[in-house]
Subunit: 309 residues, 2 copies
């Protein structure tokens, strides 16, 4: 069984490749929920949805989120009604997910139960686990005050200066059912090319998960979300700087030091290999961009080969 | 000020005519909420929505409910997710209303406050008041058990035998703010051509409303929702039989006896005029069908003329 730590877009690409290269049921995905937010009273879990939509073949691959061919009539109407936060784009089909999730939460179901119900309904073979069933929220300190990740990322187009990132609620949270067991029993663990600060960071902040990873019986292999000083997509490099890290694959390796055994980095970053090796992480240079289905499978095959699969 | 008691479709047609014939702000609409229901965790108030959509020029006039040119992507997705009650057709734009209402209810707002907010946002001049802010639910007893009005009307296409109709919660309810004051201060009161049992019946079942109508200072004029033995639309005649009433304009007159002074009936029902007069109700025969905008205005003008407007 292979465990993958992931956020949304970048991680989803690798997971799409992995699910095509091995028996999908052998995968267990541990998903960031630090970006979860309530919009219009509906509970939205963007990374879980991106992973499930991807594995169900429903994802809008152009955007990297949402459901393909979705329409936006409800959102336009919400906007006409003067609703807040209509900058967060919710498609009509996508809304069905959030409506159902919110209904189930109201009935007392846990996020992990709801997620499992969704992935089964949509025929998704891999287990998809939220990192926790509790609310943990990535909060970004800016000169204008603290904002959520979605406010920073979507509303403000990651323009604000970020002086600090914290995971509100993390200390009181515990791993969702199955998370630490999955890590303990894994044949290998993959850290997807997701934002280290706001995608993998919240997962590691849930008490018990970092410890489970430190006590691992299986190899941990990561894939860098950065090439040179910039994230392949999104604001990872900017948030790394905010957290005092070097914005590079080396900075990511430092962040994961002690937790990771092998690390795929871009060919462009071959010059970082010796510094990464010095941190007891085995660097593996390859093409880490995944613009096509073939490149997703190709990188997945390389990652699997590195763990003897 | 003119007060209108109404349900959805039939009442909305007359109200559309009234709003075109007098200053809309002179109208106060008292709306049935006995058909309200929760679908997918969202609070739906069908009659209020039909009235507001009508007055906002948004109504799907072909169907008599919902928003014109609406799409149904979220509903189709809910159906794929295995959601219950997808027989209740909710359009994508329409969903925005229910999402917003549910959010506001969660914030502690009353249905009357939410309704007022909606109608102002949509530029609707008449005041629209729910009959009550409490939950009152029309429950229909059938041989297979008790069902809601929407289950009877939409899901079961009004096929089940109905042996009894009750308004659950009515005894504990009270009129929404402004309702009894509007009745007391009205220059005239109109009972729209709505289902007497499940549209007007719930309004009259809210303690205080019937009494306010009995103590009226202003004339009450009704419009029959039936021609001969059949409702112009919907199951009014069937439910009248269930409640031991004659399915005809005369049966409606009997149901409203003591509450109504004048009653517009179809020319086809001229033969009922003397029996209606015998109940101290002045029958007025005219064309009560409203298939066109012109016929809505025409009937509205006649109704207004009957109360000296």
């Amino acid at each position: 069984m292979i465990v993958v730590f992931t956020g949304g877009t970048g991680g989803a690409k690798l997971i799409e490749g992995l699910a095509a290269e091995i028996t999908p049921a052998e995968l267990t995905i541990i998903c960031n929920t630090g970006d979860d937010a309530v919009f219009h009273g509906l509970y939205v879990s963007p990374d879980i949805d991106t992973i499930i939509y991807t594995l169900a073949g429903m994802i809008d691959t152009d955007k990297g989120w949402g459901i393909k061919h979705d329409t936006f009539e409800a959102l336009k109407q919400l906007d006409r009604f003067g609703a807040e936060s209509t900058w967060f784009t919710l498609g009509d089909r996508d809304l069905a997910t959030h409506i159902m999730r919110t209904k189930f939460i109201g009935q007392g179901l846990k996020l992990s139960e709801i997620t499992d119900r969704f992935r089964r309904t949509l025929g998704v073979q891999p287990r998809v686990l939220p990192m926790t069933d509790e609310r943990v929220e990535s909060r970004l300190e800016t000169p204008e005050g603290e904002i959520s990740f979605q406010e920073f990322f979507v509303r403000d187009h990651w323009a604000p200066d970020v002086t600090r990132v914290r995971f509100a609620g993390a200390e009181q949270s515990s791993p969702a059912p199955g998370v630490t067991e999955a890590i303990r029993r894994a044949d290998a663990i993959i850290i997807a090319p997701s934002n280290p600060i706001t995608s993998i960071g919240p997962i590691l902040a849930v008490p018990g998960i970092r410890a489970a990873l430190l006590a691992r019986n299986a190899p941990v292999v990561g894939v860098s979300p950065l090439i040179a000083a910039t994230a392949i997509s999104g604001p990872a490099h900017k948030l790394m700087v905010s957290c005092g890290l070097t914005p590079s694959a080396l900075g990511v390796a430092q962040y994961y030091a002690g937790l990771m055994d092998k690390f795929f980095i871009g060919r462009e970053d071959q010059g970082l290999a010796s510094d990464i090796s010095a941190r007891n992480i085995n660097p593996l240079c390859t093409d880490i961009r995944m613009p096509t289905a073939a490149s997703k499978r190709h990188l997945a095959r390389e990652v699997l080969a590195s763990i003897g699969k």
